[in-house]
């Protein structure tokens, strides 16, 4: 297993990168890593001190498919919110010495580190947000996901751990783009089924399709827009607004959130409820509908 400690170094293309220390555990020698189901993302720094993200896949998910994904990302990094699409893949043929030294780094991905808070930290920190901040951030999120939709693409796993937000600047950055849906791209070995609290309750067929973001984006946007409400913040679950078991059902939390939405941007209540009670992803409103409503709402 690849278990780097803080301060360990990697030599890649003649440059030395260091594993950053975990900010919550200073002095313990623990690297700054965040693990998901398929990979661990480490924060590393280059010689100039610039931070980068190194995504190291577990053996069962290591595949040269990431090279194909990288070749298809094209200029997506130019799209606001998709800056993390600037990739360098550590492949056996492009970095043989490093891969020989650390076989675990086969097909790892190096990408820009995104500053800000993970979306899940919104719920963990419970910091309040003003209505104009909610509207501005929601508009940025809607613009990004609608931008994917108009290209026939989908992130396929929008969730609290796959989005970095900056409330004060009204910016979003999507992470976890290795599972992005693109037409004619080889599907991942296991199709994204969505994350707890954000996956469509029907769940059949997963989210790896052109409509894959419709439900999860509706939940994220409703969470964002409702966060201005103190009542909604107090009613929120621990790591997302809804408990996973509540998704797609009527509940007191749903009523509270809809009331918060009605107070800030009434047209989104219908959009959200249409998605929430939909039979499947295709029955959810297209993301451009959210973008249009929020464009009109933000002065």
């Amino acid at each position: 297993m690849f278990t780097p400690a803080a301060g360990d170094t990697l030599l890649l293309a003649g440059r030395t990168y260091s594993f950053a220390e975990h900010p919550a555990l200073p002095g313990r020698g623990i690297a700054y890593g965040q693990q998901g189901r398929r990979a661990t993302v480490y924060c590393i720094t280059d010689p100039s001190g610039r931070r980068l993200a190194l995504k190291v896949f577990k053996p069962g998910y290591r595949s040269k498919r990431v090279v194909a994904v990288m070749s298809r990302l094209g200029d997506l990094e130019q799209v606001p919110g998709l800056e993390a699409a600037r990739w360098t893949v550590i492949a056996p043929d492009t970095a043989p010495a490093l891969v020989q030294q650390h076989p675990e780094l086969s097909y790892a991905v190096l990408m820009p580190w995104q500053a800000g808070e993970l979306w899940v930290e919104t719920f963990l920190n419970r910091c309040p947000a003003a209505p104009h901040q909610c509207l501005r951030l929601a508009r940025a999120i809607a613009s990004t996901v609608a931008g994917l939709e108009v290209r026939g693409l989908a992130h396929a796993d929008l969730s609290g751990s796959n989005m970095i937000v900056d409330w004060s600047a009204g910016r979003v950055a999507l992470l976890g783009l290795d599972n992005i849906y693109m037409p004619n791209l080889e599907p991942p070995s296991s199709l994204p089924g969505g994350s707890p609290g954000y996956a469509h309750p029907a769940g059949v067929g997963g989210q790896w399709n052109a409509d894959g973001d419709r439900f999860s984006a509706a939940v994220v946007l409703a969470e964002c827009l409702g966060w201005h409400s103190e009542t909604a913040r107090q009613a929120s679950a621990a790591e997302q607004f809804f408990e996973p078991t509540e998704v797609g059902r009527s509940s007191e939390r749903l009523e509270i959130l809809c009331a918060a939405l009605a107070a800030i941007c009434p047209p989104v209540v219908d959009l959200f409820q249409q998605a929430w009670f939909s039979q499947d992803l295709q029955a959810c409103p297209p993301l451009r509908a959210w973008a249009e409503v929020l464009d009109a709402a933000v002065v």
Binding site: L25, I30, R38, A39, D157
Partner: protein, 300 residues
Amino acid sequence: MADELPTHPSGVKLDAGEAAIGGDVIGRDKILQVTNNYYDGQLASAQYTVMASTSTPGLIIFVIDTGSHAQRLVDQRPVLEVVKSAIDASLRELVFRSTKGSRVSDRYHVGCWTYGREILNLLDGIKPLSQVLQVGFPTLQVQPGESKVNLYRAFRVVEQILTQSIRTFENSPAPLICHVACGEYGGRDPGPVAARIREMGVADGNVLIENVLIDEGAWLIPVTQTDDWTGTRDPGELATAYARELYQMASPMPEQYQRYAHELGYNLGSKVRLLFPGTPPELMSLGFSLPAATAVGARR
């Protein structure tokens, strides 16, 4: 930076009916007794699906043999040093799984008791992971004395701890007892206590007991290749009586854990027990990394 889930297993109805082999008694929500039979895999696949979160934290209790036989060397290193390294690696992994942005969420709670001449409560009870990491996991020290340690007493302590605390984890993943044995034990038979512990449970499933056995001679066919090791599914694979007892005390491996091991590149088969060799050390690390198997997932 969470990821998608592998396709989750199809739900399997718990319906042993008349075909139960081995005398299992299967209730609506609870396995009263688990033996090695056809239904083990099915039982495992239907439970152990709750994800660890701050509101439903996972509970992991380490129970470590620090008796005099823990003084020997494994791979030219003191046994307890190897164990400590594996625990540290496991805790680091739990930290990575619990890290959200710049903070460590308390998705796991950890306890550790060692047993040798006496039973020591190393972490002063059960603590959130972040608190354990703030001070660091303590060094494990051999307790010289009697050659055979008293596992019965250690499991009795665990039973008492669980009795006091398990309701706190009612909505959490099923608690995991991670026991490390360094050699043969003495005293009363710990089997009945282990059975009682396994009968305790939360909504997600019964308490799991995982045994890591550091004894190069315990497997009839020595385990040398980590990638090819398929797990232990029959007590007949074991060379000693106490290893076979540890097999009986170990829980069947839930399918969730098995899948996680596959993701890590291991080739564990179905219907194996949570019984791992301490050598090669990679397999001990695998055993210690399994608590992370419950950490994520949209299991609907």
